[in-house]
């Protein structure tokens, strides 16, 4: 089924993956439109403003295939990726394929989340709860201007569907654990999650990308659609610790109705090339959106963060706080686009991007992009890039801490503000530990958060 011209190229994967069960066929027009969009848009190059600082040559040159067989992975290995002390429900995907044998059973989900909450794999929802998912899936990605979104539309495979009914608060976070293993050929997967919080509902979802090998080459092209109805509260975490040979494109689309509250927390630690898109639309009055992120690069990692916050209703607040810590030859990109529609009077938008460079060769490109069409708007943005302050290092050393520990503590301190915004303490602790483990010569430094 591969195309004759470009066998094994990524666009061929779209065709080879079209062995779709009949019960999913109602989505085929959407998939077809995605394929058309993909072909129309084509791979971006540097002339594409959105991809100006991110070179996709290595990705384009990789021959990706769809996952074929279930990977051999032990429950022990999977258990090692649990978030310590977090009382959650976990749905496990390995190389993009849902693993019922490794996931929490449906009765546990019902028990923890409540029987009136839907939480299942996406294909189950497509096949068995069409009336529930059809009003939502693809609605925020239907007209893609980015090729990866088009690719995702064309390739909807699996993922998680969560629907929390009106007025229901779900206390237990849903942990979507995506594990990548080393495969014979690089695998491309296109996970899609659809999260629906009805009026006044509360839910927390963690997307967690990990690997069993830093040599594993693959692409995770993930799309999550969040629908927060009036007064709903959705907390979304993206914890990205992919293989340092892998590609990850994660796109969070969110639609916020009146007085909805969406928190997006992102921590990028792994990956060879990562593109993190956060794309909320504040569509109802008095909606609030927090966009909190940290990217920690070393080696030759490339971590690209593209925000597009669309204020489409009056009296909304958005808060963007992104920090980068970059070592070795790693590179960070931060694009903070804020679009304030003409109707969005009394918008209050804040954007801050701060970067700490730990080496002479680390680089960051940061750019705010404000498009303001309303006249009564408060919109502030700021961007800084610097090194660890030698005065602070001296202060810590003068209390007996070695230079390495002093620097590690100060780097951690720089990041701590972002961790402080995360509501889940076990997630804060895990991320802090993983960040510290990534810092040069910080072994033995223990920090409580």
């Amino acid at each position: 089924m591969t195309l004759a011209t470009e066998p094994h190229k990524l666009d061929a994967v779209i065709d080879t993956s079209r062995d779709i069960p009949e019960c999913q066929s109602w989505l085929n027009p959407f998939r077809d439109a995605g394929r058309e969009a993909f072909n129309r848009l084509g791979w971006p190059d540097r002339r594409n403003e959105s991809w100006r600082f991110t070179n996709l040559d290595a990705l384009k040159a990789t021959n990706f295939v769809s996952a074929v067989d279930d990977a051999d992975i032990s429950a022990n290995t999977v258990g090692g990726f649990a978030i310590p002390e977090l009382d959650d429900v976990t749905l496990v995907f390995v190389n993009g394929r849902f693993r019922e044998d490794l996931s929490d059973a449906p009765d546990k989900l019902a028990n923890k989340l409540g029987t009136n909450v839907t939480c299942c794999r996406l294909t189950e929802a497509i096949c068995q709860h069409r009336e529930s998912i059809e009003p939502f899936i693809g609605k925020l990605t239907a007209d893609p201007d980015d090729v990866f979104t088009a690719l995702s539309n064309a390739s909807v495979e699996d993922g998680v569907f969560i629907r929390v009914p009106r007025g229901v608060t779900v206390d237990t976070p849903v942990h979507i654990l995506s594990i990548a293993t080393e495969t014979d050929e690089p695998v491309a997967t296109h996970p899609r999650n659809v999260i629906v919080a009805e009026e006044g509902a509360h839910v927390t979802v963690l997307e967690h990308y990990v690997t069993t090998s830093d040599d594993a080459v693959y692409l995770n092209n993930a799309v999550t659609e969040v629908f927060a109805d009036a007064e709903a509260v959705v907390h979304h975490y993206l914890l990205e610790k992919e293989s340092e040979s892998a590609f990850n494109v994660s796109s969070l689309f969110a639609h916020l109705a009146e007085h909805a509250d969406v928190h997006s927390h992102t921590v990028l630690l792994g990956g060879k090339l990562v593109r993190n898109n956060v794309l909320p639309t504040l569509a109802g009055p008095r909606a609030h959106c927090l966009i909190n992120g940290l990217y920690v690069g070393h080696g030759d990692q490339h971590l690209d963060n593209a925000m597009r916050v669309n204020h489409a209703a009056p009296d909304c607040d958005s808060r963007q706080f992104y920090k980068g810590i970059l070592n070795d030859q790693s590179r960070g990109v931060f694009t903070g686009r804020i679009i304030v529609d003409q109707v969005a009077q009394r918008t209050d938008a804040v954007q801050s991007n701060r970067n700490m460079l730990l080496s002479d060769d680390a680089r960051v490109n940061a750019r705010p992009q404000l498009e303001i069409y309303a006249d009564d708007v408060k919109c502030t943005h700021g961007c800084t890039t610097g090194a660890v302050d030698p005065e602070n290092v001296f202060y810590f050393m003068s209390r007996g801490l070695s230079e390495d520990v002093a620097r590690a503590m100060l780097i951690y301190a720089f990041a701590a503000e972002g961790f402080g915004r995360m509501e889940l303490a076990p997630v804060r602790q895990l991320l802090a530990a993983e960040m510290i483990a990534k810092l040069p010569k910080a072994q033995g430094l223990s920090i409580e958060v």
């Binding site: 302050d389 001296f394 202060y395 003068s398 209390r399 007996g400 520990v405 301190a413 503000e417």
Partner: protein
């Protein structure tokens, strides 16, 4: 014979980035265990430079002379090694570090010193007990430890926290760099009581100050006047009183000494 806590001989110091600028031109100073010394000097005399050089700041280069701490030459040691040997600098302007709690900072510092001394690290319970004892001794609210290092501290709180750190680390020599600057009388009194509570036959202090106000609360055994990078006069505490009357005018500098 008792070994001096600190023995500075013919210390010449210049800026590392600008070698043409020599700041200290041959300073001699010996502090014996149990002694409190004060170095007084006008602005630009080099007194803060001396404090920073003693603590091991890298911005300065020692071109001549030696610094011995408890009989060991420390001129080649880093700031952390000096601190772990028992030398403490109370900063004139302690830096604020949002993101690290005072507790975490001091736990790490106490255990770094213990490791340097070849001792076992203290566990959390032992550390907390130690902190509580010292907080009582120095009159520091224990709650201060839960805040981030110096973040949002008032001038007085910062200086009290500095003295508290010295007590917690058990340093034997405290160099107080203009600890009195920016303090009101109440804060000055509390800070001074903390210092006085640490005075003992083993401990020494070097009080660096522009004014004699601090010396009314922490009475020194010896006072030295530093002008233009040289000690121009040494004596007992009466030197500070004389200075209060004359100012630095007899030394060619026209600045008041009273606060």
């Amino acid at each position: 014979m008792t070994t001096p806590l600190l023995d500075i001989k013919n210390l010449h110091v210049r800026l590392e980035d600008d070698p043409a600028v020599e700041i200290l031109h041959g300073v001699d100073l010996r502090i014996m265990p149990g002694e409190v010394h004060s170095i007084m000097g006008p602005n630009g005399s080099g007194k803060s430079t001396l404090a920073q050089v003693l603590a091991g700041k890298e911005d300065y280069e020692i071109t001549e002379g030696t610094i011995a701490f408890q009989g060991e030459d420390i001129t080649e040691l880093g700031p952390d090694e000096r601190a772990n040997a028992g030398l403490f600098l109370a900063f004139q302007y302690p830096v604020e570090i949002p993101g690290v709690s005072a507790m975490q900072f001091l736990k790490a510092a106490v255990n770094a010193k213990r490791v340097a001394e070849g001792k076992d690290e203290l566990d959390a319970a032992q550390l907390l007990k130690h902190f509580r004892e010292k907080a009582t001794q120095i009159n520091v609210p224990y709650e201060m430890l839960k805040r981030n290092v110096n973040e949002g501290f008032s001038g007085g709180e910062k200086k009290r926290f500095e003295i508290f750190q010295m007590a917690v680390l058990g340093s034997v020599l405290g160099i107080l760099d203009e600890t009195d600057s920016g303090l009101d009388i109440d804060a000055l009194r509390i800070v001074s009581e903390g210092v006085n509570s640490m005075r003992s036959a083993d401990h020494g202090f070097l009080l660096i100050t522009h004014y004699n106000r601090l010396l009314e609360y922490i009475v020194p055994d010896h006072v030295h006047i530093l002008v233009k990078g040289k000690i121009v006069k040494s004596g007992g505490k009466e030197v500070a009183h004389e200075l209060e009357q004359t100012g630095y005018a007899p030394f060619g500098v026209h600045e008041p000494v009273g606060a």
